[in-house]
């Protein structure tokens, strides 16, 4: 049976549906919002009343937003969502063990952008056409085209098949302390990395105060947030796009990694141990002037209860490298349905995913601290005024987003371990940049061999 309705076909279907509904609205029939209202979740969930579904959540603002909205979903549908908050570092491990052990703990699957290839290729998640083709379960206002294309493509799609809907959506942004910058005579944030290091660095690094912090703790934080960020910013890349051979020893990649070493002069000395928490808190407590962090941390930084600089918080694009364009990190999670779950639970899980990522709920999700993947939410003037991160975020996704910031194929988790290990040794200075890069490339090559030889399709 062909499970895999291609993304193109799905989008085409959605587009036709959208056109139809638009035509309806033009004729004085229900508008999009009204069409959304026509889908009766209570009726759709009638046969699932009382059913319980499991979901892995993280301790991040987007999940807190979903938790705040859960009572509404549960009272409407009678479906109980049992979420389990787990650390990011264990989330892949726990889910993979659930899939391979067949324990059925999670009916909703949390798919990091870099796990989609592994989860889809292993058939652990269900193609969503199973639900979107079912009129009893598909909201006519689902509107897949309403997601930012880069998000649906990166977080939710593998080999042209849609498996997940973007839920917790990140772009790297530059957050800065307006007051610290103004006090140093620089009212505007740095536009380039060079400017950050040469001008802002000396002016803002004094004693126990640092101009910049780049979260670099070993793990995905080191490999993605730190290592790949600097490689891309200077025009480099992990792989050569045509051959999939390692490209870290290219002059551009090496320049980025050498620059990262230079940045250490304006960063806290124990930066290799800083994870997201330390970095966000560094800015929030006024110890650091500028950071590059995920859009999802806006809620923490702008909240006076968790940030002493909430009133002075500035948000902008990430700085540009020698290419002249920002190369922001891309990350985030989609929600998918566990292919091993019971049929009823799969349907119930789908209803929740559809509901929490819907256009109708996007405003509520944002107001509760989440970062929606729906384009329409960012056009709301009221929200635009309330959330200054909207403009740089939307522009980052639309103009600068890099869908292959990290490869999404199944080998990435193993490659990430390799990059993180030697990457942090390079950063510590215990291995020279060139030598470390050679070590990484030597270790990556066997994993990339099937792609280089053409035994596997070059998908990333």
């Amino acid at each position: 049976m062909d499970h895999s309705l291609s993304r193109r076909r799905l989008l085409k279907g959605a587009a036709v549906g959208a056109a139809g509904v638009t035509a309806f609205s033009l004729a004085g029939r229900p508008t999009w919002a009204a069409a959304q209202g026509t889908f009766d979740y209570a009726k759709a969930a009638e046969s699932f009343k009382g059913i319980e579904i499991g979901a892995p959540f993280l301790d991040r603002p987007g999940y807190a937003a979903a938790i705040a909205m859960l009572p509404e979903f549960e009272s409407t549908t009678g479906i109980k969502v049992n979420y389990e908050t787990i650390p990011y570092e264990n989330s892949r491990e726990k889910q993979v063990l659930d899939f391979t052990g067949g324990t059925g703990q999670y009916d909703i699957v949390l798919v990091d952008v870099v796990w989609i290839g592994e989860f889809a290729a292993s058939e652990w998640i269900t193609p969503l056409d199973k639900f979107t083709n079912d009129p009893a379960l598909a909201d006519p206002a689902l509107n897949l085209q309403g997601f930012f294309p880069i998000l649906l493509e990166s977080f939710g799609t593998w080999n042209e098949v849609v498996y997940g809907l973007p839920f917790d959506n990140y772009s790297g942004l530059m957050y800065y302390n307006k007051k610290m910058l103004a006090d140093a005579g620089m009212p505007e944030p740095p536009k380039t990395w060079q400017e950050l290091k040469d001008t802002y660095g000396p002016a803002l690094t004094k004693g126990d105060q640092f101009a910049y912090a780049l979260q670099s703790r070993r793990g995905e934080t080191q490999s993605a947030d730190s290592f790949m960020r600097m490689v891309w910013a200077f025009g480099g890349s992990l792989l050569k796009p045509d051959t999939f051979e390692p490209n870290l020893s290219s002059p551009e990649s090496l320049a980025g990694l050498r620059f990262r070493q230079d940045l250490k002069a304006i960063m806290p000395p124990d930066i290799v141990e800083w994870d997201h928490d330390e970095t966000v808190q560094g800015l929030a407590q006024g110890r650091v002037a500028v950071i590059n962090e995920w859009s999802s941390f806006y809620a923490t930084l702008a909240n006076p209860a968790s940030s002493t600089i909430a009133a002075d918080l500035g948000v902008a694009f990430e700085p540009a490298g020698p290419t002249g364009k920002p190369a922001p990190a891309l990350g985030g999670f989609s929600l998918a349905v566990n292919s091993q779950s019971q049929e009823e639970k799969q349907k119930a899980a789908w209803l929740f995913i559809q509901w929490i990522t819907s256009e109708a709920n996007s405003k509520k999700y944002i107001e509760n601290g989440g970062v929606s993947g729906r384009q329409s939410a960012y056009q709301d003037p009221e929200l635009q005024q309330k959330y200054p991160y909207f403009a740089p975020l939307v522009e980052s996704w639309n103009n600068y987003g890099n869908p292959v910031f990290r490869p999404r194929f199944p080998e990435w988790p193993q490659m990430s371990e390799i990059v993180a290990q030697t990457g942090s040794e390079i950063m510590l200075g215990s291995v020279p940049v060139e030598e470390g890069v050679k070590t990484i490339e030597d270790q990556l090559r066997p994993l990339l061999e099937p792609y280089i030889k053409g035994d596997k399709p070059k998908l990333q």
Binding site: E89, E93, V96, L97, T100, E118, S122, D208, R217, R218, G219, Q222, P268, P269, D270, I271, V272, E273, E278, Q281, G282, Q285, R287, P410, P413, Q414, E417, Q421, S424, E425, M427, L428, S430
Partner: protein, 317 residues
Amino acid sequence: MGLRDNRTTGVVAAPLSREFSGTRGRPRFNWTAAAMIGPAVLALLLIGIYPLIQAVSTSFKLYQITKPYLGTPWVGLDNYQTVLKDSLFWSALGRTGLFFLLTVPLQVALGIGVALLLTATRWKGPAAVTRVLLVLPIATTPTVVGLIGRLVYNRDFGVLNWMLDLVGLGPVSWLGSARAAMFTIALTDTWQWMPFVALVALSGLTSVPPDIVEASKLETSSWWETFRNVQLPYLLPGLTAVLIIRTADILKLFDMVFVLTRGGPGVSTELVSVYVQRVGFRVFDLGVASAQAVLLLILCNVLAQAYIRLFYREVEV
């Protein structure tokens, strides 16, 4: 009084014994003993022996759970060869050895010191309170120790650097440099496990007959001579147990280190158990990870036997 090597005495706990009625009678099964010991044996079989057999079996298979299409064929000793040729495994094992040398001798010395102080002190009230307080670090979950450690050792916000600052020192980057991070996890482990050694040593010291100590004081005024010849022999069985337990603990020490440093910075605190976890649950190569675990089990047993041969002596009164 003297020391008796008890290695060959064959002291057996006899969990499920047989009773003999007379020298020529047939052995009679002791159902009462079996009923009392049976549940423990069953639990041991289920939670100890069965997983062990599974691990040994897995170590001879290709077992990569994220690649189900490869199947789980029997590969003989391939996984063991992979481990033995893996330089990262050996360097992790080397770091674990260094960690052992940094922690256990210090813990034993401090533990004995604390036990001697508690035995010798005349302030019985504070000594009793201290004994209770000694249990607290041992009772703390290693993950919680790691989480508290991240707060205590934070360079900018940590309480340790705040205290150093009060006396004009620091700040120290406890977790941010390779050498300091190894020292920091050793310090944390010592904080948690020194009390265990102290309690074991305390029980050894309380079993020393006071008249023998008094007699030795008449023989010599040297505190060291009394300790070495009178008290230490009573401590050796307990300390041998401590060595065996701590060796096994350190070979499987994961939670505290993972939470505190995640094996970093770089690989500076990647102890062998952290590496095994990485192979098993990040790369999901359970065949190789099982082979690593089995090799560590063998190493642990060899070391335990060595400790017994080298240190274990029973006091003969």
